[in-house]
């Protein structure tokens, strides 16, 4: 194996993991966010504190959980509290530095839909719903979103705002009185997008190696813009890839699948 042989999904997971700083208190959604958060813990951020909405605080799972409440999260946690306590004291209480979320649809202001595709009363597709995301997106000091890029997902307008990003942009989030600062970055399999300082619209700040600007435009449902000084994402280091693949191999052995989805 050489660092040259890696997939777009691996680049996405590694890029997301790199954004978690050591010692951060991180509220983790299941699936891609959980993979990235545990990769960070096993590489550059050994003292990151992972909190799952089922109640484990300081979870250190040796394999990725399939569900949000797997036993390994409770067994490896510093403490396990009830679900009301997690949401009331720890999240709403303002103790979370970073909320780590996925999305079914996302718009240019990083508003997230996980509720329905189509009309709410008569949906074409009924999605799972909110889970913990609305309060994570509003109460965590900042939010990271990890999601694969496609026109079905990156849309001009989400069908339902389940979890708030920057609402209609500019200072609309702050004016609404929402406590957290909002999304700091959206990490996809093609690039990293960040909110533009004034407008809060997502612009591409870093492009993964080998990806063209056209490819990003084609997989985004609005005319996406590129930041001045938009750079190339640092390719995966051998160690990052080895740790990620070991983690996924251990997980596959334990569950028979590679990773969860909430």
């Amino acid at each position: 194996m050489t660092p040259a042989d890696y997939s777009a999904d691996e680049m996405m997971t590694l890029s997301a993991a790199r954004m978690l700083r050591d010692h951060a208190i991180c509220f983790v959604g299941i699936g891609l966010p959980s993979t990235a958060a545990n990769l960070a813990r096993l590489t550059h951020a050994p003292d990151v504190v992972l909190i799952y909405e089922s109640g484990p605080i300081g979870a250190k799972p040796s394999v990725l959980p399939l569900s949000i409440g797997d036993g390994i999260l409770a067994e490896t946690a510093d403490t396990v509290v009830s679900t009301p306590e997690i949401f009331r004291y720890w999240l709403q209480g303002g103790r979370i530095d970073i909320g780590f979320l996925g999305a079914a649809q996302i718009d240019r202001f990083a508003n997230i839909n996980t509720t329905v595709i189509g009309d709410y009363a008569k949906p074409a597709i009924r999605l799972p719903g909110a889970g913990g995301a609305p309060e994570i997106s509003s109460s965590a000091k900042e939010v990271l979103i990890v999601v694969k890029q496609s026109r079905l997902t990156f849309v001009e307008k989400v069908d339902f705002i389940t979890s708030v990003g920057f609402l209609s942009g500019n200072d609309s989030r702050r004016r609404a009185g929402i406590p957290g600062r909002g999304p700091a970055a959206v990490i996809s399999d093609l690039c990293i997008m960040r909110p533009e300082p004034e407008t809060c619209e997502l612009v591409v700040s870093s492009i993964h190696p080998g990806i063209t600007r056209d490819a990003i435009r084609q997989k985004t449902g609005w005319p996406i813009r590129f930041a001045e000084g938009c750079s190339e994402t640092v390719p995966p280091a051998l160690l990052e890839l080895e740790v990620l693949r070991d983690l996924q191999a251990r997980t596959a052995l334990a569950h028979g699948v590679s990773e969860g989805a909430e």
């Binding site: 959980p65 949000i68 949401f87 799972p128 995301a133 309060e135 708030v164």
Partner: protein, 288 residues
């Protein structure tokens, strides 16, 4: 006052058509045996509440027991969609399903309010989201001290809450541990409560501060080993992840679902019978 009794008797006494029922357990300790018994007894028109409907409510919805669902995340954890839930919402099969949709934080707070005998819960959430436009039960109130706008959500007060736990003693005091979810709050919010347990023991020997539900807040305690499978019971057995993945295929179409419910639940006498049939079908799925 808790009474030890067979699960079928406890369900027959407590659950009636049209009741508002919670079967709680956050991924862990999900009371599947009790749900199967409700399906077997043919209850209809139930209003169900549960944070994560999971395969347990997918089975009850597909079996036609449910008219309304209050929930906060309706997927098959780690796998994908709940197909019976989706078919009921998208195509009204086998009967229409009304939804009362909340966030996890809302529903957890609403159980706390119910347990505390308060009419509603207050939370700092939903601001800017479409819940305030589409979900009629969520309102806003002004803090009487600061004027801050907060979300208000009605308390959840089930007629009956059912949970699964690890142990109960001879008197019916119940001990549970691991991921506790909202079970304690759901029991205290309800008028009646039934608990199924892995083990019947002489004494609990629980340390102080352990999660113990005293026998006098419960109606019935039922000994049902493995009663939470395919979810798990911490210290007893693991989550049956293979079942949750197989459920995706079984529940994906109406015929295979209907056959499964018939063979595994309607044609079995109790949960022990279900486990025997399930063992056969799991072996068949592994070596067709």
């Amino acid at each position: 006052m808790a009474e030890w009794m067979p699960l079928s008797d406890a369900i027959r006494a407590a659950i009636h058509d049209g009741d508002f029922v919670a079967l709680e357990g956050f991924t862990h300790l999900i009371p599947f045996a009790a749900a199967h018994e409700i399906i077997r007894q043919g209850r209809r028109n139930l209003s169900l509440v549960r944070m994560t409907p999971d395969a347990i409510y997918d089975q009850m919805i597909g079996a036609g027991c449910v008219a309304k669902l209050t929930f906060s995340w309706g997927g098959n954890p780690g796998v994908g969609s709940l197909h019976r839930f989706r078919d009921a919402v998208e195509h009204a099969w086998p009967v229409p399903l009304a939804l009362e949709e909340r966030s996890h934080s809302d529903l957890a707070n609403a159980y706390v309010a119910g347990a505390a005998n308060l009419p509603f819960a207050v939370l700092r959430g939903y601001t800017g989201s479409d819940f305030l436009r589409f979900a009629g039960h969520i309102r806003t109130i002004a803090c009487p001290f600061t004027g801050e706008t907060l979300a208000a959500t009605p308390a959840v007060r089930p007629d009956v809450t059912i949970i699964h736990a690890q142990k109960a003693d001879e008197k019916g005091n119940v001990l549970l541990w691991g991921i506790l979810g909202v079970q304690k709050e759901a029991v205290l919010a309800a008028r009646h409560a039934i608990v199924t347990v892995e083990e019947r023991v002489e004494r609990l020997d629980a340390p102080p501060n352990a999660c113990v539900l005293p026998h006098w807040i419960l109606d019935a305690v039922c000994h049902v080993p493995r009663g939470a499978t395919p979810s798990y019971a911490h210290g007893y057995y693991d989550r049956d992840n293979a079942f949750y993945r197989r459920w995706d295929g079984i529940s994906r179409n109406r015929d295979s679902f209907t056959d499964w419910i018939q063979d595994h639940i309607l044609d079995t006498a109790d949960f022990a019978g279900y486990l025997r049939v399930l063992g056969d079908s799991a072996r068949l799925a592994a070596n067709p």
